[in-house]
């Protein structure tokens, strides 16, 4: 335990790949929590964006530290593109749902069950 903390203190200020990954992990976990707990569909979407951003950070970070290629960055671009498309369609769906059910609370919209 002692060595762990000592190492941790030594490691912390030297920013490297792990730091980015940890930020990404935190964002991911928060995103998951947001998706799971929010009633409002738009808030759920925000959670999704967080998760996507977490993934993107990973891509870019690995691209920087993993080797000298840009494949990770390209993947990140595609993720962004996907996110944009997803946001557009998802919001359209939300609007549609709102028109039909007069609510955007996901727990009230469970017609998919059976």
């Amino acid at each position: 335990m002692e060595t762990f903390f000592a190492e941790f203190i030594r490691w912390l200020p030297k920013v490297g790949l792990s730091h980015f990954l940890i930020v990404s992990a935190i964002l991911f976990a928060l995103g998951i929590y947001g998706i799971s707990t929010r009633r409002n569909a738009i808030m759920v979407l925000m959670g999704v964006e967080l998760v996507l951003n977490a993934a993107n950070i990973n891509f870019v970070a690995f691209s920087r530290y993993g080797g000298v290629n840009f494949d990770g960055q390209v993947a990140a671009i595609f993720v962004i593109i996907l996110a944009a498309a997803e946001a557009a369609v998802a919001l359209a769906i939300v609007l549609n749902i709102y028109q039909r059910f007069q609510t955007v609370n996901v727990d009230e919209i469970s017609t998919m069950k059976e």
Binding site: Y33, M46, N53, V60, I77, I80, I81, A84, I93, L95
Partner: protein, 168 residues
């Protein structure tokens, strides 16, 4: 502690804190605006990773596009007059449990695989835009084209969905 490290911690802090606010705020509007900060923070992290093009794209698309879209969504789905922008949360306990499992797993993963940080390669002091552009036009041409078609489809699909139905 160099400037790079300080910058990282600052932006990492901004990102994580605003993300917390996004998730835990009761108000949709608050959440949305915190998300703005998260996005900016992530963009700054990209800059630190020498991914200038991605960073700009992040700002343009997430902040300029997606977030605005979400705000529109918020406004369209809530009666502005009778502003009640608070949203409830659901079964927080199982969610917390789940998230802690996820977090624990990731942490465990770090711990078990960590062998000390490798030194970053010397940063290339040129814009990545040109390289990315070339890659998109050569080896990633097919996914690029598919992505463009996808965007088109999404555009039309979204327009189609969002259209207010005349009486059905």
């Amino acid at each position: 502690m160099e400037l790079f490290d300080i910058a990282f911690f600052v932006f990492a802090f901004i990102t994580v804190v605003s993300a917390f606010i996004v998730v835990f705020s009761k108000s949709v509007i608050y959440s949305a605006f915190s998300l703005l900060f998260t996005f900016f923070g992530v963009a700054a992290l990209y800059v630190l990773l020498h991914a200038d093009f991605i960073a700009v794209t992040q700002v343009l698309i997430y902040v300029g596009g997606i977030l605005v879209l979400m705000l529109f969504g918020v406004m369209l789905t809530n009666k502005i007059v009778n502003v009640e922008l608070k949203t409830g949360t659901l079964h927080t306990i199982p969610a917390l449990l789940l998230v802690s499992v996820v977090a624990g797993t990731l942490g465990g993963l770090f711990y078990s695989t960590w062998k000390g940080d490798v030194a970053p390669p010397p940063p290339p002091f040129e814009s990545t835009t040109k390289t990315l552009g070339e890659m998109l036009m050569t080896s990633y041409l097919l996914p690029f084209e598919i992505a463009s078609v996808l965007l088109l489809v999404a555009l039309m699909g979204a327009a189609m969905f969002a259209r207010r139905r005349t009486k059905t």
